[in-house]
């Protein structure tokens, strides 16, 4: 991390990602509507993905894509950003999507059952 | 074999003496009480007349086997107490079965009779009898405490649980235990009040309230046996006290003087005391008498 503008930008990316995660958690923890809770989860997922990609990135790297002539110019391999986080993010996105889908399905069922989306009123199971 | 026969003969003699003396004491009791109450009172031999009358009754009724045997239980206690307590020192006509450590035995055998009689009284089905028995047993728990405290004090102080041992101590030192262990003596005498069941501790057989309590249903020869047993027991207990605290007796005359002197204490106390309720009596025994008993133990431990 250098002190150039780009370096600060790098921090900014991390900061943004963390901020997004926190916003998502805030939504999950504070908002009373089930839908907003699910949105909060989704937002924090996105923030997380952002963070992961940011970690894998470094200055001046190219996309980790095989293209014709890639192998000839061997030097470009080192210029490539780390592909692993990106692969992970892909997986995480898929999983996050699945979870969100499940959550939304449950929200529908909860709404049908309780007639409300207020999480404070859905407390049949307690103690 | 011969010794056994002699023993039995001696026992019979002891029994007869005790019977006569005990009966006489009972008669004197009635007389003295009457005189104090400014009455003439029955003659001193009235008890013998009563006994004769009872024993000559044609038939007697009983309410079952325990009732039938109750007097026998009572008699066992009286006679055993009499036989274990040394009546006279060094006298062949008054053999005794005493042995080392007999004080504890005595404590227990003395409770055997009342319990047996209580069973008999219980079987009569007369509520008065049962009430009397519960009172009597409760009272027993009361006066046993100072009595045992006194005995334990003696056992500790003289390292023996035998009556003859304690008598030997007195003979050896020349002092009666009454003086060397005064607190034990006081506690024991106070316990004696309860044993005799004279006023103020006569609620057990309170004649006007319970129709004499445990003996309400007893008559004829049963009452005769009970009466003689009571007389023998009175004598045995007094002899025990004399042995323990007054140095024993060498001949019958001294024994009678000592026992009668001792007998006067509860007798005179009874004349001036109104009747206690049971719980009052129990608490009385657990009060000063037990305190003296504890003092006796303290004395025994310290000296």
């Amino acid at each position: 991390m250098d002190n150039t503008l780009f370096g600060y930008l790098n921090y900014a990316v991390y900061g943004t990602a963390v901020l997004v995660i926190l916003i998502g958690l805030y939504g999950t923890m504070v908002k009373k509507s089930l839908l907003k809770v699910v949105i909060g989860l989704s937002v924090s997922d996105s923030g997380l993905n952002l963070l992961i990609v940011a970690i894998g990135y470094y200055k001046g790297g190219t996309a980790p894509i095989f293209s014709p002539g890639f192998l000839e110019n061997f030097k470009s391999v080192s210029k490539m950003v780390d592909p692993v986080p990106q692969a992970l993010v892909l997986t995480a996105i898929v999983i996050g999507f699945g979870v969100t889908a499940v959550a939304l399905a449950l929200v529908i069922r909860l709404y049908r059952h309780h007639g409300t989306l207020n999480i404070d009123e859905i407390k049949n199971l307690k103690w | 074999m011969e010794k056994v026969l002699l023993d039995i003969l001696g026992a019979i003699v002891t029994f007869l003496v005790a019977f006569v003396v005990g009966m006489t004491y009972g008669g004197l009791n009635r007389k003295i009480t009457a005189r104090v109450q400014n009455r003439k009172g029955p003659p001193w031999y009235q008890n013998f007349i009563d006994a004769y009358k009872l024993s000559s009754k044609k038939s007697a009724i009983h309410h079952g086997v325990m009732h039938h045997l109750g007097p026998a239980f009572l008699m066992v206690t009286s006679v055993m107490t009499l036989l274990i307590v040394p009546v006279l020192s060094h006298n062949n006509w008054f053999p005794n079965l005493n042995f080392q450590g007999d004080l504890i035995f005595l404590l227990y055998i003395m409770t055997f009779g009342p319990l047996g009689m209580a069973l008999g009284a219980g079987q009569t089905g007369n509520p008065n009898s049962a009430i009397g028995v519960t009172r009597g047993l409760s009272m027993m728990v009361g006066f046993e405490i100072p009595w045992v405290l006194a005995l334990v004090a003696l056992m500790i102080q003289y390292h023996t649980t035998s009556i003859t041992g304690l008598m030997a101590v007195q003979a050896h030192s020349g002092t009666w235990l009454m003086f060397s262990s005064p607190f034990a003596f006081i506690a024991a005498v106070m316990a004696l009040f309860g044993m005799f069941r004279y006023s103020p501790f006569d609620i057990v057989g309170a004649p006007t309230e319970l129709a004499s309590g445990p003996i309400a249903e007893t008559g004829g020869k049963y009452l005769f046996v009970m009466m003689s047993s009571g007389s023998v027991f009175t004598f045995a207990k007094l002899t025990l006290y004399v042995d323990l605290f007054l140095g024993g007796a060498d001949n019958l005359f001294i024994l009678i003087i000592k026992t009668f002197a001792l007998y006067l204490i509860p007798l005179l106390y009874s004349l001036v005391s109104p009747r206690y309720r049971t719980e009052q009596a129990i608490r009385w025994f657990w009060g000063w008498p037990s305190f003296f008993g504890l003092l006796a133990i303290l004395q025994a431990i310290i000296f």
């Binding site: 103690w127 | 008699m75 227990y108 079987q123 089905g125 049962a130 405290l149 649980t161």
Partner: protein, 615 residues
Amino acid sequence: MEMIHIIFLIFLGGAVLTYFSGKISKVLQDIFFLASVLVPAYLFFAYVGAGREATLSLGGITLIWGVNHFSWLFSLIVLGLGSMAAIYAIGYMKGKKRKGYFYFNFILSIMAMMGILLSIDLISFFIFWEIMTWSSYLVTIYNGHDIQRIGIKYFVFSAIGAYAMLMAIVIVHHLTGSFLMSSMINFYPNMSLSMQIWIPVMFLLAFGVKAAMMPLHVWAPDAYSNAPMAYTSIFSGALSKMGIYGMVIVLVTMINQIPQGFWFREVIAWLGGITAAIGTLWAIKQDDAKKLLAYSSVAQLGYIITGIAIGTELGMLAGLFLAVMHALFKGTLFMVTGAIEKQTGTTNFNEVTGLIRKMPWTFIAALLSIIALAGIPPLGGFVGKWMLYESLITSNHYLLVIVIFFSSTAAFLYCYKFLFGFFLGQEEKEWAHVKEAPAVMVVPMLIMAVMMFVLGTFPGIILKPINSGLMDLGFVDSFKHLWESSVILNVWGNHVVLQPILYWIIGIFVFFMIFLTWKGFKTTRYVSTKDISSSGEVPADDENLTFSVGFMQPFMRAVAPAMRRQIDKYYNGIADGLESLFEFIRRIYTGNGQTYTIYVIVFVVIVLLFKNILF
């Protein structure tokens, strides 16, 4: 395959077989039941002598079982009383439901007790201890009456005790590297002072619970009175003795090795004394025979504890002799109560009365055991009491003597209450139909009553095994020197002192009995209990003259201040407090998903904040 293995296998297989054979035939079940108690008992006494050992390796731990004279003595109690109670149980359980359940747990209890006695290592000791606990618990709740309170209370106390013991066992294992009891005892003097205090305390907790020692006794009255009487007779007679056994084998031998053990023994002895007094007082108050006997058991166990806690040879001898006697008379008394319950359907003194002419044999058994319990001379109880007093006096426990004597005198009150309540008093019409209990119930009671008489007359019969048992524990042979050193100074081993006295007692009794009975002297005549002097009039047949309510009221009034406080109430207070605390704890789970999320975040934040301390 040692004989010990076979015995345990028979117990175990017999229990299972008995349980399932009930599905086929009730008679078969009874036969299996009797066989699985009596056959091992026979095998044990016939083929297993002192010094036999057997091992079993389980889970990397070698379990060792063996017999010495001391455990042989207690086996006598367990198997002897167990056999009697088993025979009795056949009659008692006839026509009752859950027979298989009862038999199963009965056999398992006896097996567990034998296991405890035979265990040489602590793990098998613990295993059998726990089996004993749960099998007895299962019988305790047999009636289904108020079990959530009574049963759970029993089990909680037992479990606290057992877990304390488990802790002690594993700590000992940590210290010595071995589960052997002997290595623990040998290592004990080398432990640090805190361990020297805590190990016995933890063991004491376990044994004290089973032996119903004072602050831990609150389960006993309920449990004893709630179990079927056929079981209670071994529950109180033998099972509680396991606590005594443990105290002797673990505590007395262990603590005697260090001088500070004096204080320990002192505390236990006093606890025993207080137990005796409290148990007696509460026994007098009871109106139900089961409860009365239960409290009386607590009191009697108090004497035994005091005796063994004194720790002198004479004290041990007294305690163990009383233990044997207690097994006999309390076993019989519970059987008597069971017989009456069986015949009349109730054990409340206020309801049942005047059975003496209907159940004479039961009465005789009851009478003899009561005489033994009260410690009145011709029967065995007296011998034990006497030795107890002697040992207390010689070891300078003067006040304790008074406490013990007080409770043993006050015991007459409940003894009388028991006999009067059931057998004496008015013979009401209501109970005119009552018959004597079947022979299978009466005979065991009478056998035990006879044993009591024999042991009272010839105490040496049982004192000799006790003595050799104590020698196995490292005590000196008391027959040689004990009597010289004690205050008693008699030669009891040869029965020269007590026997003439007893003959005298019997002679006098017989003489006066004949005197009273002899028709030639004066005739006697039986009249019914309605024919009494009642203010000069004869009461009518339907007039109820039974006196039983508030029976010992005068005495209870006298001791009322002592009984105002109940330990039970304090325990209940603690239990209620805990339950409310738990109720509060479970409200942490609010039911709101968001709260849970907040918990997660709070957890992370807290751990992050304290990470330097934690990691």
